[in-house]
Amino acid sequence: MSNLTDKNYLNCEKGLWSWLTTLDHKRIGVMYLISIVIFATLGAVFSLLLRYELFSAGKDFLTALQYNKVMTYHGAIMTFMVLVPGIPAVLGNILLPLQIGAKDVAFPRLNLLSWYCLMAGALIAMISLFTTGVDTGWTFYAPYSIGSAQSGTVFVVLGAFVMGLASILTGLNFIATIHQLRAKGMTFMKMPLFVWGLYATSIIQIVATPVVGITLLLLVAERLLGVGIFDPKLGGDPILFQHFFWFYSHPVVYLMVLPGMGVISEVVSTFSKKVIFGYKAIVYASVAIAGVGFLVWGHHMFVSGQSDWAGVLFSFITMFVGIPTAVKIFNWMTTLYKGSIEFRTPLLFALGFLFVFAIGGLTGLFLATLSTDMHFHDTYFVVSHFHYTMVGGAVMATFAGLFYWWPKICGRMYHELSGQIGFAFVFIGFNVTFFPQFILGAMGMPRRYFDYLPEFEHLHAVSTVGSTIVNIGMVIVFVTLYRAWKNGEVAGDNPWGGTTLEWQTTSPPPHENFTKEMEVSGGPYDRP
């Protein structure tokens, strides 16, 4: 049983400077957490502005141009500054070395550098707020982004490029760490599934991010020099921008969800007190999702004028993603089956994940089907679909992970009832916000519009109420976590009876993670 006054990674050095120069992966993870919570708050404020403008038909307090800018910032912040770094950089940083029994990641300095890259990128992007801003949407589609009169575009695009560097460095670091620093006896097939999720994620970061990086640089060159590669006036092809953009941005949604799925595997196994069902199937499914994810980008472009054959092929391959995803969902459900289930906050979030992600995944099939996509394309159906996967999926999984590992991260236990109330608000609020948007989309409400026809008003109002509930839930969640950190009860080293290596060290862990060399013989979820 640990004593919180013992030396651990949080108290071994003091002062802000010791944090800003730290090479300890756990501290870097905590710094990522704090910065991402700040970014997410900003993104949430923008989303509330959108929702309240849309509460009733007609112009309320934003002009159409202001609405477009708010929408762009909401999307760009949530994508590049919250979801992409989210689980890998926070939970991955803190837990990857602990779960494989290593003292740190392979390149601690690079790890710190990647945090500074994220900060620098965020700063560059935020400079745009002091210009006329940016109104392109987070996708920066050419040729509009080339010609848009809003001068903030270059800053946001450059910022996204620099944040891409952060993402690449994290991925590179994790792959090297996983290959080189596993504890003695931990073969690849004995790694915890969260580590596998991170491994698949890192591959995407390494292969896909450079593509968007150079594409964003080309866009900057387009605006500053007029190079013409994406500009039809000069012989270029704006559709090529979409191809390059989605070659990154489709895999990137798996980048957001794969580590989340890893979290769910850990949580489901621990709280049903059972070995995970179908370990190997989940491993292969993770790798398959990462791999197939590279071959489906064209489903964002069914109506862009790409060839019919390309459409058919992309549609077919996209359907294929459903298989490994379903394999995972069935495995988690089978793990729960006849388990001795303990309904604690992490498991509630994991079950919430299963519910919303199933809806998000199944509605993806509507959009992968060519004929139905013609109807749903660029409507609220799409908006709702990707919020169900990215917010419902990635955010629910992040919260599951944060509550699950919080006792390990700070050594203290959160207040169970407030955690559960937070879950209730998030889960109910989320569904109230986004389920009506499926209906709106099916009725023909186009996305990105600042106004709408009167018949859409009721559902928009419901959605706005939901967005308020979900944000109250977020506040409850973070207050709960903050209060636990400040004066929660001492948690002990292994409050959940977890089987993976991070539970075998003290809470919070010492600077070097373990006091002895770790050695592994059985599987990660074997129970004595």
Partner: protein
């Protein structure tokens, strides 16, 4: 001579070496993917505007390109040799070869500078500054956008390479490297070879393929 101590989270120096090398390789993968995007765009537009690309190539002097190809190949050789001498504990020769690599890189940049100024002289500027009047095919500016973007990004990498070569050169002079520890030289060497390799593709595609 200061002995290098491996970082606390590695078992020993070999362990650190293999991890570092893997890190460099992964980084180089991202470089290759990044340039790969430009090559893909190049092929698409080459296919779309064959006459434009043929005309554009006539403005480039293949002899200059060939000279630079030889220069870079030589520099790859001197780079490799300097690693060899680090492994043999011969710091002096390692430093000499690193210096030679730097000189060759500088020669490359000088030739590039001459080529660029020739283009600018003709008004073959990148993008909207393109002011050449005698173009026979449509969108000749697009060809030169590719030329300047691809060789410009490559030139930037040469400059970065010169920076990191200078860094290992200073460390080699200080006697930091020996047969047990030469990781930075190895990493810089790998980077340099990949930059050369990219040029090996740029040269024929821009200068020779009409």
């Amino acid at each position: 001579m200061t002995a290098h101590k491996h970082a606390h989270h590695f078992k020993d120096a070999d362990h650190e070496f293999s991890a570092s090398k893997m890190g460099v390789w992964l980084f180089l993968c991202t470089e290759i993917v990044m340039f790969g995007v430009l090559f893909v765009a190049y092929f698409l537009y080459h296919h779309q505007y064959p006459a434009t690309f043929a005309e554009g190539a006539t403005f480039l002097d293949w002899r200059m390109g060939a000279l630079n190809t030889v220069v870079l190949l030589l520099s790859s050789f001197t780079m490799a040799i300097s690693i060899h001498f680090c492994q043999k504990n011969d710091s002096k020769k390692a430093v000499l070869n690193l210096a030679l690599t730097l000189v060759l890189a500088a020669v490359f940049m000088v030739v590039k500078y001459l080529e660029y100024s020739h283009k600018f002289h003709l008004g073959l500027y990148p993008g909207q500054f393109f002011s050449y009047q005698g173009a026979e095919s449509a969108n000749l500016a697009l060809y030169f956008s590719f030329y300047f973007l691809m060789t410009g990004l490559h030139g930037l990498h040469i400059l970065i390479g010169m920076g990191v070569i200078t860094w290992v050169l200073i460390r080699a002079r200080r006697g930091d490297f020996n047969s047990k520890y030469y990781t930075p030289v190895e990493g810089v060497g790998l980077f340099w070879h990949v930059i050369d390799l990219i040029w090996i593709f740029l040269f024929p595609l821009l200068y020779l393929v009409g």
